[in-house]
Subunit: 284 residues, 4 copies
């Protein structure tokens, strides 16, 4: 059996659900799950379909070709089609903070995330010990002002060699160049340690402390050319009070960061995130 997941968006029109589901039935697909959404303001239709095909001769690429022919032009439809049986390959980018790294590796070891993690890249050597504990190749690529371009070139080369599907900035403390970002559109997920758009930029916990907020947050988003401005995938918050120091904010925030990043990765790898403009539709 083969399984595909389709993410679709197009201008809304009468009968669109029927037309698409009928197309899949004609191709002998079994619709296992369907989730749709209409953005009334934008008159845009969104759909996620999980389909199974039992026939031995079924070819994903051939199905995709026919699907595109039928809908792309006539329905001004944009789609993404995923082989749902492919296990995504992740590269983790880290610097010195290890909590998100431990968390993701622990989850993967537990079988909670269905991914391959063949590569950890860092601009510092500190976390090699964590990589070793989980038997994952650790690539130390230092980044300085002068060597940033070369470092990114090496990062990209390494990523390509490992057939990476998704890059996770797991508290990676370097800004990624526009050029790098443009090569991995909606394939880089960052965890920002604030409730965006509050406290954009560096040291958000310190800024939150200064402002005297009663709730702090963390935000996972796709990385775009504009720092901390990419489409938000997930956010979570926790209460703080005057008894908490900046250090307490940071400690409490660690748990937020871990959970929010893991949820965002999970949604992405299950093909439940559709980016539209600078926003996301998160299917259930």
């Amino acid at each position: 059996m083969q399984k595909i997941t389709l993410l679709i968006n197009c201008p809304d029109r009468k009968g669109i659900v029927t037309t698409i589901t009928q197309f899949i039935l004609e191709k002998q697909g079994n619709i296992v799950y369907l989730d749709q959404h209409v953005d009334r303001q934008e008159s845009t239709f969104f759909m996620r379909i999980e389909t199974e095909f039992d026939q031995p001769e079924f070819s994903i690429s051939s199905f995709e070709k026919k699907f595109a022919e039928r809908f792309e032009t006539d329905y001004q439809l944009t789609y993404q089609l995923f082989d749902a049986l492919h296990k995504p390959r992740l590269a983790l980018f880290v610097s010195k903070y290890d909590h998100c790294l431990y968390d993701l590796l622990g989850r993967n070891a537990s079988g909670e995330l269905q991914v391959e993690i063949p590569l950890i890249i860092s601009n510092h050597p500190d976390l090699e010990i964590v990589a070793k504990r989980f038997d994952i190749p650790f690539k130390y690529i230092p980044v300085t002002k002068g060597t940033k371009a070369e470092a990114e070139a090496e990062q990209i080369k390494t990523i390509k060699e490992h057939n990476i599907d998704l890059i996770i900035l797991a508290r990676y403390m370097q800004i990624i160049s526009d050029d790098f970002v443009s090569k991995f559109k909606h394939q880089i997920i960052n965890i920002h340690h604030s409730f965006l758009p509050a406290f954009i930029g560096a040291k958000p916990y310190h800024a939150a402390f200064e402002r005297g907020v009663k709730i702090i947050g963390a935000t996972s988003h796709y990385v775009t050319a504009d720092l901390d401005e990419g489409p938000i995938i997930e956010q979570e918050i926790v209460r703080v009070s005057h008894v908490h120091s900046v250090q307490d904010f940071i400690l409490k925030g660690r748990d937020l960061e871990k959970v929010v990043l893991a949820r965002a990765i999970k949604a992405h790898i299950e093909h439940k995130v559709l980016v539209f403009g600078n926003k996301t539709v998160i299917f259930s």
Copy 2:
């Protein structure tokens, strides 16, 4: 234009989404919103459809007849069909606590709830002043052990006279008889002041205080013959700590009760709640 909302459940089968949406298109319906869910464990298909019909000659009852003919037997399909333009008529049952009553009347006055509230019934005269403030008829029907059957008969008679669609137990402190409940299946919504199934029965805040929980909750559910055991529609919680007395629990709980009850009513009147067994599917 006419609008109907359909709630559907049936054994899951291939092509069911297509078949039903196609039926509606054939009847010249415009599907404005569709939300579906498959319960894999029970192999059951659930769907909610909002449809608009523009043709002047369209008749809801005639559509319903055809829909039933086509699907009820062949698909073992259960459906509820609502005239989406009908404004639901609510009867509020209260006793002495006024916070949910004030909240619901305030919301309705604000235009937040799109309902008629032609009737408040109480077993105590205390809250007549609240009803008066909002110019709503207040019916005082005392209930004692000996007169319960008569009191319920009068309640039912009054409800029928006012063409009530939905009964809200807004902290009504009397147990409703099985006989009464059976007359209004899934048409009575209660707010229970605990995080069910914890602290079933009377004085849940006192019980929560005794147990030393760190979080308290409120639960809105349909009333069934089994006390506090009906299908849950909505729940919400708030943190408490050792600094809070039972009185604090009660005060904090009031805000929970108001919000949870209002959300449950909103979901029900928008026909987003489908009861299946003793559980609810809440469509988005």
Copy 3:
């Protein structure tokens, strides 16, 4: 019996708790509750004390005089002393949104807030009906660009006449002048319909919708000369998703605004809020 509540802050020093509590004991006060906090970073000591005095001859002003003499200079101590039996008098400022108004009046009618509300001021006549329902004087003071100074003069005059202790901007849609603010330092509480500091300014729900956040919030804060920048008293959040329109954000936000504003008022009137710099200490 007389009851006073003291809010104190001063540079931290050894033995400060003992010294102050001993002073109160010497004056035959019974310390009913004591809550203290040390801000290590600022080396500042904060304390809230509830005290009861049984002796018939006890005079609050005389006690205050002695307390000030003993501590103000020697300990560089700042204090606020409240007669805990005085029922605070609130003026509610509103415009056209009625949900916070209904909520506060309902709470007060329920006995949930222990305050007097002798005055509602509005720059629009629309909500007079709500005031009438709860038998509260409603003062319509229109505000236009040209008449703002006069309008504020009239507002201030009315507030003085009614011996108001606390002004609540219950979705009052006018910016208060610096001059007005300076007359009621930390006596004006506003509810802002965003999770500050995100979405400062007008139309925060629209801005949140545009940004595609997954959580929205509301913030209650003291009004200062800088718009939306005053010390935060309370915040709360609720989840949103792609299925929610701006209208849904607004509706969900209403419940946040009501709860957050009510909590902030409650904390203030129980003298649990101590403003320090641009932050608040909220005692338990």
Copy 4:
């Protein structure tokens, strides 16, 4: 410098804060933090004090002796006195679920928990690999019905040998005997995978799914002779809906369990938990 933390409770009486703080000052202690609470219903006074002593000749045991002499009888005072510089030694009990184990070991490796973890005990050999990754001795002690007493004897022996201060049941799937529990009063922390007291006993996620709740939770508590009935330290919740299967509940619950258990451990090792009756006071 030496540091001690005191947890105190006694019948409430006038001047108690002053008396105790004065005693500490006399002994040249510097009170770094003081948090007190009065349970009015029980007329009981609770206090937590962090104190530093600079004098070289200071002896904790001598201080404790004097403190006990002064207060135990006269004030019917119960106290716990901790050397705040002692690093607690934890034994982790596990079975087959590894998520809490990975989480705690990751936290400790990150320096987030200030503890020693010299011992992992399991009734299954499966998680030895996790222990190895973090270089922690793993003791496999199988438990069967017939060998339970012996197994517990061996567990206790091992615990004593390692000078364990706190036992963590990190999803340990065996019931501990009353005899074992009595040997480690308030020194065993369990994580229960439900929002207690809802869903006591086995398979709480399945029970929650059957009941159709909209929120699930996790609870960390001290283990007592009554299963799942011990004093609650911390609880947390997460929303679920009809789209979630039992498997989803279990997955979502893992994150709750990890966070709740970690918070409970942190509160305990910082001596912020005072057990009183079957409830806890959690100091800030």
